[in-house]
Symmetry: C2
Subunit: 593 residues, 2 copies
């Protein structure tokens, strides 16, 4: 896919289509019919139309105007990628499409592709006064002549040795929930749930081992998987078993006709409007409710937990080899952001269990580290200079687990400036508080977000992103429902959840600091005489903090002990499997503060 | 009012009334038509019927059964006060009336007094399958022959010297909000808003200087105050001014007839169903929205802030005299919970500005301190023994401000046991963290609740109440909308809000610990180079922590400095106005740790 620098021709062609269809305007979200974070090249309609390649955004094409809505992360990128003479830019959150429509274009006939929006998101536009017109076919698809083919690689079984629980048992438990709530079936619109429920994986997306498929789970634990039969071989059919019928996606209306008169659960946040319409046309009653796989998927079972430990150990071996290499090479200068990230990828890829990166690595030197969602490209690639801060946020997909880790480094050879060390140490203190936290059952991420920020807050500083997100088990690196952010829904932590702990601090134009480990939620021992269950975190990530950036005098004795004890654990776990030069570096880095 | 030990006669009489009215059951909440925390004796219908005198509860009277719903605070008290042969007890939160009705008595005709419930609370019962029948007159009132007269004391002007802003200015600002949101008027059902908006106070309740009155505020800033004209003298009419018309409460329907066709804002959480019905009958459209006075009332202006400082200084002089007296007398034994609380009240009452206590003092020795809402009475009064913990939570109403303070003391003469000191110190550390917190604008109480709990959590301990509540300015000791609790709505803190900081720990059967100061939210100085506004707290309460209970070795150097600095401030502020013996005690207590 290429993005021509002047997409005016495409816009004009789209406007002509819209006129034929009798609508005044059209919505082009960045997203596909599966509403996930990553999309396949065949669904990059927003990039095709506007040139914008960020991970979140929405275009509104009117007769005389073309508007792109993006959030604060992408202001600069949208300015560079979308011709300002053609595209107006608005803030997706502060001045969203509903507000824009109300103020600037009330009462127009607004076309949309019902596969790319939830009913809730459409309702906001109706409330704003637009007359919404669903279009049976997306007009962009008719114009996009060199559109890549949609993903069609074979589905893969996710072996019980990694999944830890058979699909039949998962389906039985989810079906029991449906029966308890009086629903005859659930329509699973989210491929993550399909992957988890049937122990399936795929290669439809670059960073998440997903199969873009949906399913219907009935209250007797039988199910229909909507997937083209070409994508399932005999082995896969055997894996699915006799209770799971395979039907092509275009047979969905036919299959749903068997649900006439049924209450069918759909998750309103994860289900495209088109699916809700299909259900109603089939005579079923859509019942809004949480995706029944979402919470059990987040609570990793014992096999998945052990897989996560193994994956993190393996990942740490690659990362520490990278860090030792970096420590030796960086003071001489000459490294680049792209080449450093590629070297880390190469080291990870040496492991036979490696499948892919879990997201595009963020490799930011000096001021680029302050761009929270920076992605180094040939165009932006910056030499990593001596005596500057370097931020590397990366992760991998292994069959037994997904990793995500951030370290901020000092290239040397001279000492880091005092203000950088002071701020790194504040970030570290928040990170340590969260890692060591014990808390009663019932506590959720929004309640503990402040603990990671308090040391920065005391200095009048903060960071403009959440503190942590859930992570899948050989699934998405961003997984709900629990997260550590004030904006997140307060979903209480449960044993087996894996969540990131990644406070940061960013000084625009100068440097970025972020320290990220993954934490596994586990039950804590009860205090004598107390009966209320408590939880605590087990740190999965094994990599030293940046010794050159720690101001040990600003840590309390307990914090120093915590760092020393973590470093001792890292050294003991990794040294036996590392080459001698990496061990030597790691031993120095992990010596008591 | 007396509560006969066997209220069976009253229940039987009520059932006969209900049969005549054609209903199967009747709801008797603890609360009056103003839906506040405190009620006048004339509205203590639940106590009259059941004997239960707690501050929260609800009775459901059926033909054959009588059920009282109470929360965890009142289990023991309800058992003692309500004849168990007559009254079944259920948990108000865990097994609420709606659940009970669904399970045990579906489909019955349930009578209710529409002045005592919000429409939202009634909707939950309808959802549970009850057929709700509003009763024009409360049947209890017809049976309660010696019912006290409703409050009728004169309304009092709250002088500008205390209120800091004229009613006309407050009304103009609130009316501007109504105009902006397209509402023609707001019906103010909450007497706290009426008191604030018109700068009025009264003596209708024992602990809150309220006038039980409602008002209609129009979008042109004119208003109607619903209050019997007998309660307003010429001075008060002059205070109200020409834009505020006075009408008796029973003329409300007549006045609301002037709102025909208007959208009229009502706060669904604060408005009895009867008022919403009146509005609809008048042809107006009730529009749900926050009470427009709630947020501005919570943000105290500069005059109110200075009033709060003066009130707390005055209150602290009484409290420190009490503490010095207690320190001398307690080791000898012979003090009682009631007499100690009375002595503190007497000391407070010496100040000419003293109006009343702000709530019934909680004076709990040893195990009674572990009862979170304990109220010492002649029946429960416990001698305060030597060498035990004593908890005193009390406050006062002064014209310039409302106070609320808790200290936990050790009676001596011997040293406090190590476990008590350890836990007191954990509670103190949480309290200190919150007091010293700086935080960005936008942060709300639910986000910081964990900061006060973390030291206890690390030891597997917790407390079963919120960390803090808002406080009025010569108004209610519990004032919304902001509070520090996970359960509270996340209302961001604003400069001028006053909130309590009161973590605790309770060991049933042994002791209770709670440390409470009031905090005033204020703008913090910006960090150089940062533009995001930050807030911080100014501690209003001036009283030493219990030196005998602090384990200084468990405090960090920063925490020790914080205690020393607070104690130095307390000593400097109070010593000039205290008698010599109290100064001597205070100086010892406030010496650096």
């Amino acid at each position: 896919m290429t993005h021509p620098p002047h997409p005016l021709g495409r816009l004009a062609a789209l406007r002509a289509e819209l006129a034929c269809l009798g609508v005044d305007a059209f919505l082009v979200p960045r997203g596909d019919a599966f509403l996930g974070e990553y999309v396949s090249p065949s669904a990059e309609r927003l990039a095709w139309l506007s040139g914008f390649t960020g991970s979140a955004g929405l275009a509104l094409v009117l007769r005389e105007r073309a508007v792109i809505f993006i959030d604060g992360r992408y202001t600069t990128q949208a300015e560079a990628e979308c011709d300002p003479a053609t595209w107006e830019r608005h803030h997706l959150i502060e001045h969203p499409p509903a507000t824009f429509l109300k103020e600037c274009a009330p009462g127009l006939r607004l076309g949309y592709d019902p596969w790319l929006h939830t009913e809730a998101s459409l309702a906001r536009l109706t409330d704003a006064g637009a007359l919404l017109v669903p279009l049976a076919d997306n007009p962009i698809d008719r114009l996009w002549h060199d559109r890549p083919a949609p993903p069609a690689a074979p589905a893969e079984a996710h072996a019980l040795a990694f999944a830890g629980e058979a699909s039949s048992a998962k389906r039985a438990a989810a079906a029991a929930v449906l029966r308890q709530e009086g629903q005859r079936a659930a329509l699973l619109a989210d491929p993550h749930s399909v992957a988890w429920l049937f122990n399936l994986r795929g290669r439809d997306l670059a960073y998440t081992p997903l199969l873009l498929a949906r399913a219907l789970l009935r209250d007797d634990a039988s199910a229909v998987l909507f997937l083209h039969p070409d994508r399932a071989d005999a082995g896969l059919l055997a894996h699915l078993g006799p209770e799971v019928a395979l039907h092509p996606p275009d047979s969905m209306a036919e299959i749903l006709a068997g649900c006439t008169g049924w209450p069918v659960r759909i998750d309103p946040d994860l289900t495209p409007a088109a699916l809700a319409v299909l259900l109603r046309e089939a005579g079923a009653t859509p019942v809004p409710g949480d995706d029944p796989c979402r919470l059990p998927r987040a609570c990793k079972n014992a096999v998945e937990q052990n897989g996560a430990r193994a994956a993190h150990h393996r990942d740490a071996l690659a990362l520490v080899r990278f860090l030792a290499w970096f420590a030796e090479r960086a003071p001489q200068g000459g490294l680049g952001e792209v080449s450093a990230a590629v070297h880390l990828l190469d080291l990870r890829a040496e492991a036979p269990e490696f499948v892919s990166e879990s997201f595009p690595a963020i490799s930011g030197a000096g001021p680029n580290g302050a761009i929270i969602h920076y992605r180094a490209t040939a165009a932006t690639d910056r030499p990593i200079g001596a005596e500057e801060a370097y931020l590397i946020d990366s992760g991998a997909q292994y069959r037994d687990g997904t990793t995500d880790v951030t370290r901020t480094l000092w290239t040397g050879p001279g000492a880091a400036p005092e203000d950088l060390r002071a701020r790194y140490t504040m970030v570290l203190r928040g990170h340590l508080t969260l890692s060591a936290l014990r808390f009663p059952a019932g506590i959720a991420g929004p309640h503990m977000d402040a603990l990671a920020r308090a040391p920065l807050w005391q200095a009048g500083l903060d960071y403009d992103h959440g503190t942590g997100h859930g992570i899948g088990s050989f699934l998405s690196v961003h997984e709900g429902p629990a997260g550590i952010s004030r904006a997140a829904k307060p979903v209480p932590f449960k044993p087996g959840m894996i969540v990131s702990n990644e406070p940061g601090f960013y000084l625009p134009g100068a440097y970025g600091i972020r320290i990220e480990n993954l934490l596994l939620v586990s039950a804590a021992a009860l205090c004598p005489g107390q009966t209320k269950p408590f939880l605590e975190f087990e740190t999965l990530t094994l990599a030293p903090y940046a010794r050159a950036l720690i101001d040990a005098a600003a840590l309390s004795p307990a914090e120093r002990r915590q760092v020393d004890s973590y470093h001792a654990r890292v050294l003991a776990a990794l040294a036996p499997k590392l080459p001698a030069d990496a061990v030597a570096w790691l031993a120095r880095e992990c010596a008591p503060l």
